[in-house]
């Protein structure tokens, strides 16, 4: 059974710049500096930091499909990266039970001068597959992409749509327990989009937990059952996805009215 627990997770980004002293006067202003983004603070060591996540606690169970919503700079991508194990929290604890597969950039490892077949292995390895495992996906990817003989040619000769087909097919051939998505997965032309939609649904049905960060209400409503609204690195609202989206819109309207 896959599960994820976050307890008071805080992520601070240090400001490494020779002009960092310029940031200090911005600290702890009563008036917020910006509507988006985390707060600028000074840590105990006297260094300027940007707090991207501030005390996030979450309990995610098997079968949950979470949609992460919020304005730009709310901390959606940072939270996904924390869940992927890319950023380790500055404070707090995180316990992940299960194999995590982040699909943030599905063409990672793609080499334009390698053939389609070689790239199945290149990209597959970056997605956490072994060479053998990636090879075993070849027949299925051949069938799905309908690229035929093109798979033996360097990817450089592909149209951008063909490239999308290939990387999409490789990415959706994985078997994750915990799937992390940032803005869904790109599809391609209209005929392909229908096939792609089905394939994404199959992928998600294979996974125990899915977390999707997106600005598209339609996408999160379609793919998720629960939601989290982030604002300035904090959880503002949590619950059923429809309630979260509703709260989110009311919140934005009230912010607009206030200013």
């Amino acid at each position: 059974m896959a599960s994820i627990q976050l307890k008071d997770v805080t992520v601070d980004f240090p400001v490494y710049d020779k002009h960092k002293e310029l940031f200090i006067p911005l600290v702890n202003k009563i008036v917020p500096i910006s509507r988006t983004g985390g707060g600028i603070h000074v840590n105990s060591g006297g260094k300027a930091i940007v707090r991207a996540l501030a005390g996030i606690s979450l309990d995610i169970k098997d079968g949950d499909r979470f949609g992460l919503v919020g304005l730009n700079g709310a901390g959606k991508t940072t939270l996904l990266r924390v869940l992927a194990g890319i950023y380790e929290p500055s404070l707090g604890e995180i316990t992940i039970n299960g194999k995590v597969s982040p699909l943030f950039n599905i063409s990672l490892g793609m080499d334009l001068d390698d053939t389609g077949y070689e790239n199945i292995i290149n990209v597959g390895q970056f997605l956490g597959m072994g060479v053998k495992e990636a090879r075993s996906r070849i027949p299925e990817i051949e069938e799905f992409t309908e690229l035929g003989k093109f798979l033996s040619l360097p990817v450089r000769t592909y149209s951008s749509g063909m490239m999308v087909r290939l990387s999409f097919a490789i990415a959706t051939s994985i078997n994750p327990e915990i799937l992390l998505l940032d803005e869904g997965l790109g599809a391609g032309d209209m005929v392909f989009a229908e096939k792609a939609k089905k394939r994404v649904e199959e992928l998600i049905s294979r996974t125990s937990i899915m977390i999707l960060a997106s600005h598209s209400d339609a996408l999160v409503k379609q793919m998720c059952n629960k939601g989290i609204l982030l604002e300035k690195g904090r959880v503002l609202f949590q619950g059923d996805i429809d309630d979260v989206i509703k709260y989110y819109h009311e919140h934005i309207d009230s912010l607009a009215a206030a200013s």
């Binding site: 890319i86 992940i96 995590v100 072994g130 060479v131």
Partner: protein, 286 residues
């Protein structure tokens, strides 16, 4: 099948006291262990990078060998006159030195950007840092093997003995891998945080090449104290000697092996302590 990951960030506040007594953490060791688990990944990544660099060229990585051969021929003639040495002896000496030195120097220069240039990868997927380091070492070993063509030429043209001592090169390659790994990891970590180190290191390496007995035989400076320091205390002399001596059909002196082993042990210990301390911060430096 389920793998449980537990991450706690509470110890991160203590960073900064770099020289306080510390321990090597399990997380750091687990990162290093991944080098053995994910060998398929770094073998492929290293080879892909070599291919990418020389794509569509006709001679590929042999370009390094060609420029090295030209350098050896030109410098060899001038220096043999300068040092009043037989060309027949000096060229093999210089060639073996250059073949041994080049991987060390390029591992050190390239390691400055190992993490910095992999930012795009490291922020998209969780990847153990040492796996990236292993790929860079492997890439340099591939280029090193290409340079063997120079060795073959030198053996054919000049009177270089090929004997049982030549086989000792295996230990030299082992030293490249083991010492290369910690040196590359250390430099990659430091350069990710302090971006001034890279230009500093590049100019330091140029000086090191002349200070280390590569162009001149170590025996030339044995009577002089400063010269002795350049040779015996200089770790780069020992690191090159484990490759160079076997290439010349000679057995490296025993203390060369002792120094290289000590270097590996203490180098790894130091790097692991540092890595344990800063591992979770590296991603924030990129």
């Amino acid at each position: 099948m389920a793998n449980i990951v537990h991450i706690s960030g509470n110890s991160m506040r203590k960073i900064g006291k770099m020289f306080a007594p510390t321990i090597i953490t399990d997380k750091a060791l687990a990162d290093v262990r991944e080098v053995f688990h994910r060998w398929e990944f770094w073998v492929r990544l290293g080879a892909v990078e070599v291919r990418r660099r020389y794509r569509r060229t006709y001679v590929g990585p042999f370009w390094v060998s060609i420029s090295m051969a030209i350098f050896i021929a030109a410098t060899g003639i001038v220096y043999s006159l300068l040092f009043q040495q037989e060309i027949k002896q000096y060229i093999p000496f210089l060639a073996s030195g250059m073949i041994a030195w080049t991987p060390i120097s390029s591992i050190m220069t390239e390691s400055c950007v190992t993490f910095v240039s992999a930012e795009g990868i490291l922020k998209q997927i969780p990847l153990p840092y040492t796996v990236l380091i292993a790929a860079s070492i492997w890439r340099n070993l591939i280029v090193f093997f290409h340079n063997f063509i120079i060795y073959c030429l030198v053996v054919l043209l000049f009177d270089v003995p090929v004997n049982a001592n030549t086989l000792l090169i295996v230990f030299g390659i082992l030293s490249y891998a083991i010492n290369g790994m910690w040196i590359a990891l250390l430099i990659a970590i430091v350069c990710a945080r302090y971006r001034d180190i890279q230009p500093l290191l590049v100019s330091a390496l140029q000086i090191l090449m002349f200070v280390t007995p590569i162009f001149w035989p170590a025996s030339m400076l044995e009577k002089n104290l400063l010269g002795k320091i350049c040779v015996w205390v200089n770790p780069f002399y020992h690191l090159t000697q484990v490759i160079r001596a076997p290439l010349l059909g000679e057995c490296p002196q025993w203390f060369v092996y002792v120094s290289v082993t000590l270097l590996a042990v203490f180098g790894w210990l130091f790097t692991l302590v540092l890595f344990s301390k800063v591992r979770q911060r590296i991603i924030y430096w990129l």
